[in-house]
Symmetry: C2
Subunit: 380 residues, 2 copies
Amino acid sequence: MKFLHTSDWHLGRQFHNVSLLEDQKDVLRQMMEYISENPVDALIIAGDIYDRSVPPTAAIELMNKTVNYICGELKTPIILIPGNHDGAKRLGFGAEQMRDSGLHIISTFEEMMSPVVIETKQAGKVAFYGMPYNDPELVRYHFSEPVTTHDQAHQFLASKLTSQFEPGHKNVLLSHCYMDGAIESDSERPLSIGGSDRVSHEHFKAFDYVALGHLHQPQKKGEDYIRYSGSLMKYSFSEQHQKKGMTLVELDSNGFNSATHIDLTAPHQMRIIEDELDNILTMGKTDANSHDYLLVRLTDKHAILDPMEKLRKVYPNVLHIEKPGMLIGIEQTLGKARLARGEIDMFNDFFLEAQQTQLSKEQSETISNVIKELTQEHKE
Amino acid sequence: MKFLHTSDWHLGRQFHNVSLLEDQKDVLRQMMEYISENPVDALIIAGDIYDRSVPPTAAIELMNKTVNYICGELKTPIILIPGNHDGAKRLGFGAEQMRDSGLHIISTFEEMMSPVVIETKQAGKVAFYGMPYNDPELVRYHFSEPVTTHDQAHQFLASKLTSQFEPGHKNVLLSHCYMDGAIESDSERPLSIGGSDRVSHEHFKAFDYVALGHLHQPQKKGEDYIRYSGSLMKYSFSEQHQKKGMTLVELDSNGFNSATHIDLTAPHQMRIIEDELDNILTMGKTDANSHDYLLVRLTDKHAILDPMEKLRKVYPNVLHIEKPGMLIGIEQTLGKARLARGEIDMFNDFFLEAQQTQLSKEQSETISNVIKELTQEHKE
């Protein structure tokens, strides 16, 4: 039997004040096409369906259309859990009413105890257990168990599930957590501070497959069958070289058989370009992917008047500019960048570019005095 | 066949900064008990399920539990439309997936065209058409029809529905609108300004029953079978004498048979008490309903120090105090209240109450000068 493992859709996410909804719509279209052409027994979403507990209406509409097509038209069941970005109770409304239609939203610990069982020739009965995103406080309160860390909470919940495994069933777990030792990206929201959010993969070894969500880079942890599918698309520039998409999982009569990455490609990729302005402007003219979302690192050593306006003429979706050429390293202790050039030099560059001529001696003295005055005021 | 017509639940509503959720929970408990003891073929909610388009989580949970019990345990279908307070798209998520379980959320014009058909021995096939709350702009945009008023919009939508009536079917309409000539209350949010929100009942005469929502007072309009059930409970003090609850509707082979009001009573009633403070304090000591939500109108002619504190000792849920005894009428043009007594008289009252003695001549002069100074400053 085959199912698709996905996670971290983050529908409705904004990136540098740009809505990613059109990109998300396109990626979901690719997903629907894939399932239409390559039928699977289930689609899994291991948390963070939405980017916020109160998602924008347009994100809800997109999710609704996707669900209507996959469950309604393709008759493919969807099994999902809320992640740390989702509002579990908001997402869970009507879960009981939706179940028979093939949409399984597992948002409470009660629902966690009743797996979704799918029967196939190849793997017999496969029980999908959804562990909704949780923290130690929630588990301590709900079960009156003295757990104080994410690790203990997940160990406790996993043992509750494994103790009720049915003989002969294959068992799949959905969980939204941070596996100890796994690799994080820049676009995840920390679950807690200082490493206390880490969970050992050992607790999950009894399952035939563990479909993880939270970390945005596809990866396995500890075992071949304990995996993050990674996010639907890139959500930070530092993910520029990560593969994004879905994990196609195959189970057979022995349990886990294989996991294969299936690419999904957002129309706008997120990437970083580092060069001098003139080189970037030249390159942009022939760049087939000039509509990508860009972080531009200008290596020029002189000040440039309104570089964003210039860049956007060839790369319309430059979202952020950094100027490493203008910095002498980074002051590590303070995390502050110090300007390599003085204010007067900077103003000279600006004046040259704006007026196409150098400052006269008189102008130079005047601006020098103004800057001194301002600097003095600032210090006072 | 019998069904219950309700509307304007407004789950999650606040009243003078007090959450009404516990009252709503109790009223819904009474509703569930009623249905459990007196089975009906459907429960209708004619809009304003929630008080806001983004309802608080606790309101969603209460709705979820209510739906689980009525649809899940009692197997009674629920048919509902969004009102002007609801977010139609937010409320409509998963509607397609819920339908088979008996929860029918009709939140789009497409869904409006497919009635929920319930068949009974007494009345044959009954088609329930839900007209989601709409305004002329929405209808004009969606259907490219040149409607400019609520009346035209509803006339157009009603004619679309009546034109597809099936022969032999009984037809019920759910609509959330303001019937021309009907009585409004203080707790409805206007649909538009200046009377352009009124809809003629004539457009709806072809239906066998019209289950209306929006106006909070139970009433019929034009025909016995065109009715507002009124809100679930009182939502303003001026509704103190209104009956609140549900309308039990009976249809038979001839169509409309009867409509009966079924009382639902919130644990805290909303009411107005008007008297002098001392009388109210005496009455409160033996008032069996001293926990009601109260608007107190003090008729005392002198200033009283902290009347709220005194009142709440006997009536803990006084939510608002008015002091008509302290006012000389209302300046009609400005809508402003003018104090009957001067500042010095007021201070005398205050001092007497706080210190149990009159102002000395010296004190009286001092305060008089202070007040003069302040009044002068204020004028400048």
